[in-house]
Symmetry: C2
Subunit: 220 residues, 2 copies
Amino acid sequence: MASSTVENYLKHVYLIGQTSDQDLVAMGQLATAMEVTPGTATSMIKALSDAELVRYEPRAGVALTPQGEKLALHVLRRHRLVELFLVNVLGLSWTEVHAEAEELEHAISDKVLERIDTYLDHPSVDPHGDPIPPATGVMDTPTLASLADCPLTQPTRIARVLDQDPGFLKFVDRSGLTPGRGVVVQHRDPAADAVTITPDSQPPVTLGTHAASKILVESE
Amino acid sequence: MASSTVENYLKHVYLIGQTSDQDLVAMGQLATAMEVTPGTATSMIKALSDAELVRYEPRAGVALTPQGEKLALHVLRRHRLVELFLVNVLGLSWTEVHAEAEELEHAISDKVLERIDTYLDHPSVDPHGDPIPPATGVMDTPTLASLADCPLTQPTRIARVLDQDPGFLKFVDRSGLTPGRGVVVQHRDPAADAVTITPDSQPPVTLGTHAASKILVESE
DNA sequence: ATTCTGATTTTGATTGGCCAAAATAAAAAG
DNA sequence: CTTTTTATTTTGGCCAATCAAAATCAGAAT
Ligand SMILES: [Mn+2]
Ligand SMILES: [Mn+2]
Ligand SMILES: [Mn+2]
Ligand SMILES: [Mn+2]
């Protein structure tokens, strides 16, 4: 049985690997994500390497083995199904469920997980628009444009928000930029590093390019 | 923050204390319940004593302080609400939920807990008939007779089953002796150490006195 | 080619939980 | 009263996960 710690390491290797073009995750990034010192990450990764869950290249970085990836995706499935369940069934806010799921993802049995999946009618995305890895088969992660780079003045739909910080999510929520909402990107001002968006039936909002790049859209 | 281990120790001290007339729980019983060696229990209890969660009398036993009892009841509340939720909402069998709740009881936040409580409309007992400690105030644990000692030939109702073993619970389930069901105790045979019961609209069952004593009833 | 710098690894130490087995104390038996 | 039994505590050690700080390495800069 993998401990919560092991599950968290594998999940973070997977998540960092997704948002980076390199095929190896640097130890520094991993240590930062796990909120441990670099030495701690190194020794843990060595242990995971002995357990065949990761491939470790000293001074270069780390990648998941097929076995490690399977486990990471299973944790991610639990995390995201739990988030959706907390929002849709128990009525928690999508801005807060991440922290809850961070604990519950390690405590849910396969049986309970599949009941939740059935109860929710086999959903494909969580409250943040993150795709839910299926029990079997591969997860499709469509490549999406963001508010920082999608076409201007076209009606589009918010598909995914790439940040779990409750402060940021509350701002997104207040501004009407939640997943599923229709929006139009009005214009961009490179000098001011700003993007102005009009969400359907809400006042326009201006946000910085960095924030805009964390909000992904799909074309209508 | 109390670790899962600490929470489990406190819960077991509480539970053993409930089913015993002595006011101190013996280290041996606790070690057995926690499935650790006696020495491990001793050193853990010393630590809990330093943390003011228990009162420890060397060579005599251990009891919860008010603070420790509060924490134990909070864990028990989580455990029992989770069990009921798993049965009533996700449709798991009452014979299996104990093991699930044993993990989840440590991973549920106060916020989620109170949502579950609201969703279930503030229930007072779990699927086994065990009382659910309220968020505030005292839990009432009515003194109940068992199938081994209640009056004969009187219509009564199964109120509580004092064993979490899935094998035993499945037998109870098959026999129609689940909490809420009406039954009549037909007769007892001290020589055979046996009790014969007729559950409403089910064939009669005969069980040993020890098993009968774990099934509690309330008068109609 | 040499030096510097930043990332990484190593080393030595700590903490929480655990076990095995020896030591001890209390209770039961004689 | 002693002796024996049984419960409990102590001792010494292990493993997972962590940190602080020293050592090392690789690439960048000179
Ligand atoms: Mn986690
Ligand atoms: Mn999410
Ligand atoms: Mn538990
Ligand atoms: Mn129960």
